[in-house]
Symmetry: C5
Subunit: 297 residues, 5 copies
Amino acid sequence: MEGVLLGTQFQNLSFKAILTPQSLLVLDFRGFGLERWLVLELAPQLASQSHSLPFEFTALEAILQHKVNTLHAQLNDVEPVLLDTLESLVDPKILSVDRSKLHILLQNSKSLSELETDIKVFKDTLLKILDEEEIIEELCLTKWTDPRVFEESSLGIDHAEEMELLLENYYMQAEELANKTRELKGLIDDSESVVFINLDSHRNVMMRLNLQLAMGSFSLSLFGLIGVAFGMNLESSFEEDPRVFWLVTGFMFLGSGLIWRRLLSFLGRHLMPSVPPLIPQVWKRNMKASDIRSGIR
Amino acid sequence: MEGVLLGTQFQNLSFKAILTPQSLLVLDFRGFGLERWLVLELAPQLASQSHSLPFEFTALEAILQHKVNTLHAQLNDVEPVLLDTLESLVDPKILSVDRSKLHILLQNSKSLSELETDIKVFKDTLLKILDEEEIIEELCLTKWTDPRVFEESSLGIDHAEEMELLLENYYMQAEELANKTRELKGLIDDSESVVFINLDSHRNVMMRLNLQLAMGSFSLSLFGLIGVAFGMNLESSFEEDPRVFWLVTGFMFLGSGLIWRRLLSFLGRHLMPSVPPLIPQVWKRNMKASDIRSGIR
Amino acid sequence: MEGVLLGTQFQNLSFKAILTPQSLLVLDFRGFGLERWLVLELAPQLASQSHSLPFEFTALEAILQHKVNTLHAQLNDVEPVLLDTLESLVDPKILSVDRSKLHILLQNSKSLSELETDIKVFKDTLLKILDEEEIIEELCLTKWTDPRVFEESSLGIDHAEEMELLLENYYMQAEELANKTRELKGLIDDSESVVFINLDSHRNVMMRLNLQLAMGSFSLSLFGLIGVAFGMNLESSFEEDPRVFWLVTGFMFLGSGLIWRRLLSFLGRHLMPSVPPLIPQVWKRNMKASDIRSGIR
Amino acid sequence: MEGVLLGTQFQNLSFKAILTPQSLLVLDFRGFGLERWLVLELAPQLASQSHSLPFEFTALEAILQHKVNTLHAQLNDVEPVLLDTLESLVDPKILSVDRSKLHILLQNSKSLSELETDIKVFKDTLLKILDEEEIIEELCLTKWTDPRVFEESSLGIDHAEEMELLLENYYMQAEELANKTRELKGLIDDSESVVFINLDSHRNVMMRLNLQLAMGSFSLSLFGLIGVAFGMNLESSFEEDPRVFWLVTGFMFLGSGLIWRRLLSFLGRHLMPSVPPLIPQVWKRNMKASDIRSGIR
Amino acid sequence: MEGVLLGTQFQNLSFKAILTPQSLLVLDFRGFGLERWLVLELAPQLASQSHSLPFEFTALEAILQHKVNTLHAQLNDVEPVLLDTLESLVDPKILSVDRSKLHILLQNSKSLSELETDIKVFKDTLLKILDEEEIIEELCLTKWTDPRVFEESSLGIDHAEEMELLLENYYMQAEELANKTRELKGLIDDSESVVFINLDSHRNVMMRLNLQLAMGSFSLSLFGLIGVAFGMNLESSFEEDPRVFWLVTGFMFLGSGLIWRRLLSFLGRHLMPSVPPLIPQVWKRNMKASDIRSGIR
């Protein structure tokens, strides 16, 4: 009786198995939930041999399906948490980032990397089998032992091709998962850029407010110095004139107000330089240029 | 009657179809606007069988064209919004970034990633068919059933080659879309760098202004201390001399002015260090070196 | 007597060796600990010829195992230090980064790069051998000299295949190490982003506090100016009214308090702009869109 | 009369052409300057049939040369502007970046991306032809129609090989252009990093100056409070002693000077922590380690 | 007499050469030091025909060795300067980066990019020859003209294989150089990240000091206002009580000290938020999770 040892080909399955045309010996399984899967799901699936395909197809399909399901479940664990975390991180209202969110982001980013590796290994395994015709033929156990099965194949294609289609199907599912993880990774990168721009923007806004206040304080200091001067116990010959008090006080307040206003308008002009109008817009001009260029092609 | 199930080969079509030499059975379509396309565009296209090519070519071309059109329409949705958003983000006049723009950027960047995946999957599908001669021959249904068609082929090349040219044509269109999305991604990255440099530049300018004001405030505090000293209710023996008031007041204002000026010129010298002239320009020297080097080759 | 010079194929072994069906001549070894390995581990391993495989398999396996073990040991040296360092760097409580940690990070990142190169070279070597059938056959020395060995091969596969499985096994182990190093590299990048966000967040928080204090100082300066004005040795006609002192003092303190409060609430409104509710959430909307989109497929 | 339609193979030529052994029909050209090239350069080039190669070689070489020249001219347009802009951006003397330079950088970076795509498409086209022997043979029109030409081939290699050398030559030129653009892209990235480090450095320098001034202001405020205390209209019993004025004034100025000096030296110590000498230099130690390691190999 | 034109295959040699079984014609050399190499090194190397290999092997080896030596020398020029520059840039003691160092870094980074391209082109050239059996056979000139040489080949392998080993050897040397440059590039990136973290860290430390000083200044301003109030020329009815002076002065100094202390402790609490203990450590938890996960595999 011929048999194939799965686990040499599928190195990141969580168990080893010997597959024969009549039975599937699960050898070396470890892990939580695997027993449940073996007993509750795999067994009935294999028992319901209602379809015309030989046993090893059913068994292999069940195993590959389980692997893809596991990967899918892991992605589904990570994705919503990640999206929620990113959503709250890129929130433009926040001034500083909630650091516990960053921890969650880092954890999920790490899980995503590990999942990516897992998917890559699974894909590489399937690809290696698909690249070598002999391994596929080896996996088609029934064709060797029972030639009669070949004729009753419903689709008119032989078992090796059918096995190839089966494996390709799971390869494509793994590819889709890989695409999804790559998109998530890209989303993390983009969101981090947005977080940085957000934080930098907030900082600039605060710095401008700070600068405006510093200008106000400077104006008050400058004109306060006049008050301090008149506060000295020195004879200024104005002591007795009652109007001087109001004059100097008014000058102090009005002067500092005016100076502040000038400083503020200077800041406004300084920060918003009138870019010379001869600088064209980046895209618009290039759009035209590329239109022309694509026209030349 | 032979038939080919599209949708195993073209896995990111939005429907499944069975293609026979006489008819196209659209099986499993879902989506908005697809009905419209099926009824209003596909049907007349297939009906107008004016050209010498067999039916399956017309049908396949219609389907591929529809897929490419969809991808193109998605790109055309994303591109102008993205360019507008980037244009407004890299505007050098802005001090802080409009955060709603960032949201739009993030959304479109995400859409672009998804579009990139879509195009990649489409390209991989076409490439896989192009790599395997048998699949191409399978797609040429008419050649098998009706050998007479072969002779009347107008271009003197057989159907398999014609099918290959057809697929290659769409592969090249998809490649062009992929190039376009890659360029857009690069543009987003470059723009983000420019946004960061812009924000950093603004910050530095504001910080220098802040520093200059801090120097002014410091000067005023320093010489204001003299005024405070003379304001103490202590006997300084200058109380009666009327010139001392003007002397000290003048000293306070002039002194703080002078100190501020010195501090500002110190700042100017400090921030613009006279880089020793022996540091050559990076490119100019290297340009010469690379000229020599490329000359040696 | 036939022999193969290892070290042309395995160019990053730490020694050269001539492998014959009966003996292993280790030629050109340098390094610490290699003597220990040669004498204490390799010799007994080769001596215990209990299994049915020819000598060159045992020898080659011992050498490859040693190489993989060395790479594994290097990874195990780097990994915990790296994880500890990253763990302490991403700690959200720290305001500024411990610079000696950065040195350790840089050193380990460099070691990781070197290890990555080592693994890559080892993988490339194995891949090159696996790609060329003749080299594998060359490595199977016994098959040539002793055809009798072939029959007693326990597994029913010939030596070249067995050699291929042996090499593939070590290739897969090297691949796993490569995946691990790549994950670590990604983790370093992600952690650095988190460190930057952390530092930026801290800065924003400090800047807001600074701004709030600057607002307080400004308010005090503004109303302090009133006090300074009344401190001038000028006649204000209020000198004799005892209630005016309390009135002005109270006005100074209350006024600056009120102004500060207004400024703070202005800051609060300014930094948390009421984003117009028509900006949708990035992911939620896109999630729906992608649901629809994937449904269309 | 046999003919080949260029433009199916060379899809990013700016025109379509039918090449026969005797003539070149330029079909579908669009663009500025193309007429000039067609009339002034291409025609004489094709007319001067002085060399022994068949016509289609001359024509194809002229077309490929024109394409490479166009790409080269585009690169030569972008490169000097880009290098000048980067040169002025990385200038260490500047405190804030000239924003119009950023616009120019962004435009040229975009042009470079588009050029990169163009070169890539051209390279892919050539590679596809080089990979398929039949297409090369198809391009050798003369060999089919005129076998006598084969014998008089000067170099002793047949036309297909000669065509391959021709195409390979242009592939290598395109490769060189691709390398050049990649280096430029890397240079932009490196320069942006340097710009960021420059801006950050400037900011740190300004922040230290700001901090030093803040320390000075704090010292003055602290000791100014003494002066304010003595300025109160309260009886301190020192009023009549003339030495007390000088004592307190001296204490105020000296005290604030001393405190400032202490704060500055504290800042100096705080910012330049005596890194424990047991932290080795990153590279030196690793250099030794890698010496050892490379010795072991 | 047969001959091979080197320089079509080796397109980034700094000269062209015609290699015949008896002589090496160096044709088209340009560059400094090449004459020295040709006369002083190449000539004696070729003259000392002591070994059994045919002349073209010696010549080709000399040329390839020279190319590899040149690349190695270029790397050795760049590497120590680069490591020294990076070493001084990542120095945690420095507050702002020496801008002349950045220039040196940029120059060397550019040189490294150019060297990388050079190595890549050299590798591609060798790879192309190794991939095509005919080119290797073409290079073995002696085998064609002198079959007697074949027998006396010392190693029992034919010339084509020997030539392949020769080329592979230099390919591996080029590969090692490429690995080295890639590691250096990675080191530059990592160092830049560390420089940024260093600068950001310094900034945060300075900002905290600044904030602490701002708190001190605010406290002094707040309680200085009391002094200013009592300094007003208004009647407060405390003027005559000598204890009030000391009371108010003490209150001012103690009060501002107390308020400062409270603000500082508030800052301490604000910046070091007691992260809820339910946030696990990123790695530790994940380590366990991955242990479990790898156990499941």
